[in-house]
Amino acid sequence: MQASIEIPADAQLKYLLRLGDACLILGQRLGEWCGHAPVLEEDIALANMALDLIGQARGVLTLAGSRCAPRVDEDQLAFLRDERDYLNPTLAELPRGDFAFTVLRNLMLATWLKLLWQRLQRSSDAELAGIAAKALKEARYHQQHAADWLVRLGDGTEASRRRVEAALATLWPYAAELFEADAVDAAAVQSGLGPAWSELREPWRAEIDAVFAEVSLAAPADSRFRSAGRLGVHSEHMGYILAEMQSLQRSYPGGRW
């Protein structure tokens, strides 16, 4: 059994891991649709997006690994950390649910990622700026794809509308975490590595509300619930998804196809 790697307590590194892990875990969740989507074309679309996200995770985790001492690679970061060292927002790790749930989560996270990548193009880290420029094109398509489906489902049948509303009630409370300000953000702003996530709140709401307005969906009232995945405190679902992702690398260290 391969032991876990140690992650240094460094604010810049945490900022990168929050981003890279959001892509990694959401990519894994979307990959679960492979062979299960409602129609073949959608199956391919979801797998495409999963691979886009894994590609983004690879770039960001490689960069994060270069800031660890000793240096670690993308695979070590992806597969050999303890649960507490994964810093994705909880929203990304929730089980994939039904198609409406997946579509709404994709809309929420793709919109957030798009806004984040836009700003990261101006990062003081040239490598991160480069990753952002490439990822932005992908995120724009993910957002459009999800928005298109949300309108279809929200405006579709009684059953599809009911599922969208149920997904909204479940997912909405997890959005608050995406825009919390903390010391990690402050350090990133200070060094120019990236924006404070809190500054994305307004533009995010504007874009989400515009999609909701097309189908007369109302965002639920804000609650006091705060998920804490980006602090390393995850939902009960995280252990299972990590077990699935890690079992191979843990059992066969350095294993390759």
């Binding site: 129609v39 074309e41 959608e42 391919i44 679309a45 495409n48 794809h145 298109d148 279809r152």
Partner: protein
């Protein structure tokens, strides 16, 4: 779909006949679209396959996801399959065989000036 010619094959008929559910599933199926992709270096859009989609926007999205994953193209057309008018395969001999012995229709009997490109 209403435009499909019903099969007269008894096996196919037996498979479709028993339940109304199957009939309504066929009626609810999204229409078929033909997909044309223009490659990076190509000048024209080439037919590359088909897919099912509910409307033009969805058909374009799906065409992008299904047929341009490996850098196949820089532009996509989709068109409803039932909007394409096709020649009858039974008329193939009548329509196309007469061209077989008309070699003089190829511009191979003329000397082209060097200045004329792309012929």
């Amino acid at each position: 779909m209403s435009t499909t010619t019903p099969s007269l094959d008894p096996v196919a008929l037996a498979a479709v006949a028993p339940t109304d559910a199957l009939h309504s599933a066929a009626a609810n199926e999204w229409p078929l679209w033909e997909v044309f992709v223009r490659t990076r270096a190509g000048l024209d859009h080439k037919h590359c396959g088909s897919l099912h989609a509910a409307d033009p926007k969805m058909a374009l999205h799906m065409a992008r996801d299904v047929y341009t994953r490996r850098q196949e193209g820089v532009s996509v057309w989709v068109v409803r399959s039932d909007q394409i008018v096709a020649s009858d395969p039974g008329d193939k001999a009548m329509l196309f065989d007469p061209a077989d012995d008309k070699v003089y229709r190829h511009p191979t009997f003329y000397q082209l000036p060097d200045a004329v490109d792309h012929m």
